[in-house]
């Protein structure tokens, strides 16, 4: 499985939960803490993100940056484990 990661600008997030509804992996949820505006912000709650960018596409506040594992990096990591 391709692994991904998202970084959410939690001070911009308004907790609208659209990214949570859009995530096919159910990786996202709302935080327990609140931000300066008083909203519970979106956070990763499961380590199964695939970097599909659906959350970033529906985010109205452009708060989400998405990373995806490099293809060659995955092979390198596997080599490191076997070595």
């Amino acid at each position: 499985m391709i692994r991904g990661n998202v970084i959410i600008a939690h001070e911009i997030c308004k907790g609208c939960e659209l990214c949570i509804a859009a995530c096919p992996q159910e990786s996202l949820g709302l935080s327990e803490k609140i931000n300066l505006k008083g909203y519970r912000y979106a956070v990763l709650v499961q380590d199964n993100c695939t970097g599909c960018i659906n959350c970033a596409l529906v985010c109205p506040d452009a708060a989400i940056t998405v990373y995806r594992e490099k293809k060659h990096a995955k092979g390198a990591a596997a080599d490191a484990i076997t070595a």
């Binding site: 509804a21 596409l57 506040d61 995806r68 990591a77």
Partner: protein, 258 residues
Amino acid sequence: MEIPPLTNGFELVYKKPRTLTETPMHYCPGCGHGVVHRVLMEVVDEMGIQDKTIGVAPVGCSVFAYDYMNVDMQEAAHGRASAAATGIKRVLPDRFVFSYQGDGDLAAIGTAETIHVVNRGENILMLFINNAVYGMTGGQMAPTTLLGMKTTTSPFGRESGLAGHPLKITNLLAQLPGAYYVTRQAVHTAAAVRKLKKAIQLGFQYQSLKKGTCFIEVVSNCPSGWKMTPTDSNKWLEENMLPMYPLGDLKTPARSMN
């Protein structure tokens, strides 16, 4: 559980477009305006036309659009964004000019300007955000409000005998010979956002052909005006708005050749 960011061995696949400013948007949580702003600026970024793009901001929720888009912007009087865009395009014909309006602005107070700009076939891109209520003033009935839909000025639902029928202005404009590309898109799912981006790309590309007006309607949600959570409003949009305002191209260049 908060997972710390892992950037080692990871590559960036999506980030906020450079042309969108750092100013936090004032829109309500879950509002479709933010998505349209971002997609519009992504296209400007990818085409590399930041210094050649001029936008015209409307009156309505998106009145501060010029604060969020880092391109040359002009604020227009209520309903007159397309008229202002006409002037800009005629003086500076090599620029990419777009107008950005809501349904109260484009389909109510600005109906005359809208119809005549498209009828003249001005070479501009018009974006029309349709959320079926007047968002900024507190959720009053708009020309595009669905029949039976409750708003603050139609508390028992819109009745056709009293308030007329929903105005499908995009279908109306597709009949005009000046229109070159007319389409209706939405922002309620990631797939819809991808399609909207392609439509906006076409809208900008067709401008350099000087063949007529490109008009893109975006069916959007209004969680505050509809008094729903953002997720519920997107479901409501799919069930109620889309049967009335079906998505897809209403006029494409191939068909307009006939």
